[in-house]
Amino acid sequence: MEGERRAPRARSCGLPAGGAPAPSPGVDAPVPGRSGPPALPRAEVLDLDEDEDDLEVFSKDASLMDMNSFSPMMPTSPLSMINQVKFEDEPDLKDLFITVDEPESHVTTIETFITYRIITKTSRGEFDSSEFEVRRRYQDFLWLKGKLEEAHPTLIIPPLPEKFIVKGMVERFNDDFIETRRKALHKFLNRIADHPTLTFNEDFKVFLTAQAWELSSHKKQGPGLLSRMGQTVRAVAMSMRGVKSRPEEFMEMNNFIEIFSQKINLIDKISQRIYKEEREYSDEMKEYGPIHVLWSASEEDLVDTLKGVASCIDKCCKATEKRMSGLSEALLPVVHEYVLYSEMLMGVMKRRDQIQAELDSKVEALTYKKADTDLLTEEIGKLEDKVECANNALKADWERWKHNMQNDIKSAFTDMAEENIHYYEQGFQHENRTRGLNEQKIKSGSGSCVPAISTLPFKTSTKKHAIPFFFFF
């Protein structure tokens, strides 16, 4: 498909043409030993010429900003998504486009809640129409997720944004919170739409198309709350036993999930912290610049220099704001989604274990109880099928999930790096301009009768200054 391009070769080995000095020693030195033994040797990690030919690299071209349906940047209309690029594992043309927008507050006597408008455009036959518009609230999304988990216990269901954020959250309905949630809900539905199995789920279809009252009546069908609770209790009990007989590949998977979960949580914390530090830096800079302007009021000869420094600082401030917004748009939501995904994955593992445990318990029963062997054998047969199905579904979905995760993480961090490069390039230009302007002034200024003591003695005291020294005595 158009749009999938290799990164230009030239950039992969060089430094930017901006006249950067020789690479710092760190670039060429081998990576120092790290704590924790990696599974594979990590030699020559900085050898940038080891380009894997079959690795498709998405080039960061501004015109393709909203490339994929997973991008929460703007609520692009479903129509514009038709021209989008897709991931490798989605060879079929997309025929389901969903947007989530227009949060609206509803006040009743009992409660206040927000609904979101969901627009669906589709060419699928099983849909009665080609366009649908409905309003849904968070509870509805929760219901949908529950149904999907029920129907596909070992598939990796996309995560929903949290119910509420515990710390620092005073008002449930502040604008930032709503916007973040809206973007996450948009992503949630699109991930389901892109999933080869989930996209055809009946409850999903109802969610996208039914009017409010239709949805309520649909929800009432299906197993009641109590029976579901009963299932949960049994499930927990069963899953404890399943862990012992988990096949090798699922042990590996579980190990991965545990470590991944730890790491992604840390990355989430680190990224949030960086945002906070950048915010505080920007706040201090806002005070820093104006002081120079204030100073220039009492210095005739330094007005231009001081004002130049002040304007540089202000521009740096703005660039920091942009850097921060890049972080909060590109990196933070992605990382956070994968934090939620990692919780999701643990749930999936548990459910798989539970299904296996059911089988195991029946097998155990068979070996001890001689009675009802026929019945048990039949049940075991069914359960074996069930386990095999569940395992295969999970395995396939796991590969798909890992692939997506890789791409998402890669593009999120690449974007962040790009933002940072841009930030420093801006700074470089501004400071260079200021220096240029002021150095001119020094050259053209009147020669001072001050002996040549430059302020540099402060920097390198090895510079000796010979001074004419008069001795009178």
Partner: protein, 403 residues
């Protein structure tokens, strides 16, 4: 007084080393202090070779003594300031401890700068005590004290809060005093905020270092992403550690600003000296005028001014003509003296204003030149920081895009 024998030589002065020492102080208690090695070299102007002529050790308190001496003997000179006694405007990573090696190093540079400034000052460089400071290790303290400069020092100058009601100050000095107040206030503010900015910047960079560790641990479980993560993590470490050098350079910039912060005080000292002189002059003139008036009254017999003598005369009886004559004579002597004093004070005052103003002009040019250079060097530092940032993030981006 013209000196006939003087010789012009090029001299290099450096404060090349700092050493921790222990000794006993005036109260016979053990103390630790830092001593600084001052080396003086004379440079042969024909071949540029330098020869070590003097080398001795001094501690900070001796520098202070030298400066206090210069302040007393050259009140019309804007005397260069010493580097700060205690670390101020520190941001969290900087130590406020006087024995901290980084602080000692910056102080060493500051002391060298002080000596260079004195040596290049057209008036101060000729001072004998300064010369001895560089050349006579033992007994220097005693020599300075023998000059009796502490007695000469006007204690009123030290009373910073005292105001003198001066009726006719030289407007230029009043303006200069305002300027020095403004300079001090704005530079303090700037240094304070700069310290906070440095703190925040440090935080931004260092937190990125955490990515390095986590990426590395994560790379252990990843097959395809592992290499990219690992190498990107390395760049995050490089990024995080780059801030240390950047902020160390900025500290030098802060020291340059601090020098002018302290120079503001030196400026104010000159203004106060002028104020004091003017005050004394006005007081002397006032005193003279009142004495003259008393004299006149005694001579003519009219009493217009209130005086204790007048009151007592009224209470205890008129004085005799002899007594009155005696008093007039005393007053006339005092008036004579007073007129002489007023004349010399006037002359002194005018000399002071002329010399002080010449030095202030010299100082202004120096300040403009130095501050402009400092600000530009600050811009250069920022440029270098941006360049480093571009490099690191470009490398990191390469790694990310290969994951």
């Amino acid at each position: 007084m013209t000196e006939n024998n003087f010789w012009l030589k090029k001299i290099e002065i450096s404060v090349s080393e700092a050493e921790k020492r222990t000794g006993r102080n005036a109260m016979n208690m053990q103390e630790t202090y830092t001593a600084y090695l001052i080396e003086t070299r004379s440079v042969d102007h024909t071949d540029g070779q330098s020869v070590l002529t003097d080398s001795l050790w001094r501690r900070y308190s001796e520098f202070e003594l030298l400066r206090n001496y210069l302040l007393v003997y050259y009140p019309h000179v804007v005397v260069p300031p010493l580097p700060e006694k205690r670390a101020e405007f520190v941001w969290h990573k900087l130590s406020a401890d006087n024995m901290d090696p980084d602080f000692v190093e910056r102080r060493r540079i500051g002391l060298e700068n002080f000596l260079l400034r004195v040596a290049s000052h057209p008036i101060l460089c000729r001072d004998k005590i300064f010369y001895l400071f560089l050349t006579q290790e033992g007994n220097w303290k005693e020599t300075v004290n023998e000059t009796g400069f502490q007695l000469k020092a006007d204690s009123r100058l030290k009373a910073l809060n005292a105001t003198f009601r001066v009726k006719n100050p030289d407007k230029r000095f009043t303006e200069l005093k305002h300027y020095s107040d403004e300079l001090q206030s704005v530079i303090s503010h700037l240094l304070r905020v700069r310290a906070r900015v440095a703190d925040r910047l440090y935080g931004v960079y260092k937190v990125h270092g955490n990515y390095g560790r986590v990426f590395s641990e994560w790379s252990a479980i990843e097959k395809e992403m592992g290499d990219g993560l690992q190498s990107a993590g390395h760049h995050m470490d490089v990024y995080a550690s780059s801030i240390d050098d950047i902020l160390e350079d900025e500290e030098h910039y802060a020291d340059q600003l601090k020098e002018y912060l302290f120079y503001a005080e030196a400026l104010r000292a000159v203004c106060r000296k002028h104020e004091l002189m003017q005050y004394d002059l006005e007081m002397a003139a006032q005193d003279l005028a009142s004495k003259k008036q008393q004299c006149e009254e005694l001579a003519t017999g009219t009493v217009r001014t209130f005086s204790l003598k007048g009151m007592t005369t009224k209470l205890f009886g008129q004085e005799t003509p002899e007594q009155r004559e005696a008093r007039i004579k005393v007053l006339e002597e005092q008036i004579n003296e007073g007129e002489q004093q007023l004349k010399s004070k006037n002359l002194e005052g005018r000399e002071f204003v002329k010399n002080a103003w010449a030095d202030i002009e010299r100082f202004k040019e120096q300040k403009n030149h130095d501050l402009k250079e400092a600000l530009i060097s600050y811009a250069v530092m920022q440029i270098s920081m941006c360049k480093k940032g571009i490099q690191v993030w470009t490398n990191a981006k390469e790694c990310f895009s290969k994951m």
